[in-house]
């Protein structure tokens, strides 16, 4: 497993927090980034990337404002 530079991890955590999302989203993004860096995951393999993104999106919570 490749260690993420603390600056990247911090940037991910801030971005997730600013989007009002939970730690689960940040940890899934961290994990994706780690696997891209160590070669377990390839950014060119769209099928794999999209499956990964489905997992990330599954962790995302959003509350839409009531429609007028």
């Amino acid at each position: 497993m490749t260690d993420i530079d603390p600056g990247f991890r911090n940037a991910i955590n801030i971005a997730v927090k600013n989007s009002n999302q939970g730690d689960g989203v940040a940890s899934r993004l961290d994990r994706w980034f780690e696997e891209l860096l160590d070669g377990t995951e390839r950014i060119e393999k769209l099928d794999s990337v999209y499956k990964r993104l489905e997992l990330i999106y599954d962790a995302i919570d959003i509350t839409l404002p009531p429609e007028n």
Partner: protein, 209 residues
Amino acid sequence: MSVKVQIVEWEARGLRCPDHKISFENSDGGIIPITLIQMPNGTGKTTTLELLRSALSGSAVTWNTSQVREFIKKSDPSKSGYFKVSLRIDTHKLTFDMKFNFDEGSVKYFTTYYKPGYSKGFNPPAALAKIFHPSFVNYFVFDGELANQLLDHNQTNAQDVIEQLFQLNMFMLMKDRVDDYWNNETKDIGAREQTGHTRVCGVRPIRFI
């Protein structure tokens, strides 16, 4: 985690440069830290650099027939040629072999790492794939002209290589993939439709900073 990558030796046969083998290993098995190689004009310095770049980056798989045949030895053309570079990754040996077939106009790679035997193709260790890549290798095995560019503040080469080395480019590629996925999933969906909200799991794009 740091990894020490050292060139141990390289060897060329049947190619446009003179047949040669250069080793940087000293008598006690260590690697000589700095080596200067002097060759007269027209004797293959540029060709050797091109071979090193392609051996370390796997770039020859994209060469067309003409590009491959540019490496035919002019004075004594043969049907095949060979270039090999051996490296030490910490304590493990890594070699990339390039076998030129001038009849077919093709180059095949073979990789040896750690264990005996070779694998077909250009297969650097996954953790080092970012190093053995054209966008990185080309900035560290370079002709003299690039040295000036690296010191020119109007050029972006230094920034490019830093982004490559520290994986900033990967961060941007991730962002692009997130955007692609989102755009693909929402292209036929009204942003405020409840059905659309359900279909895309109620998400919005994440902004990377």
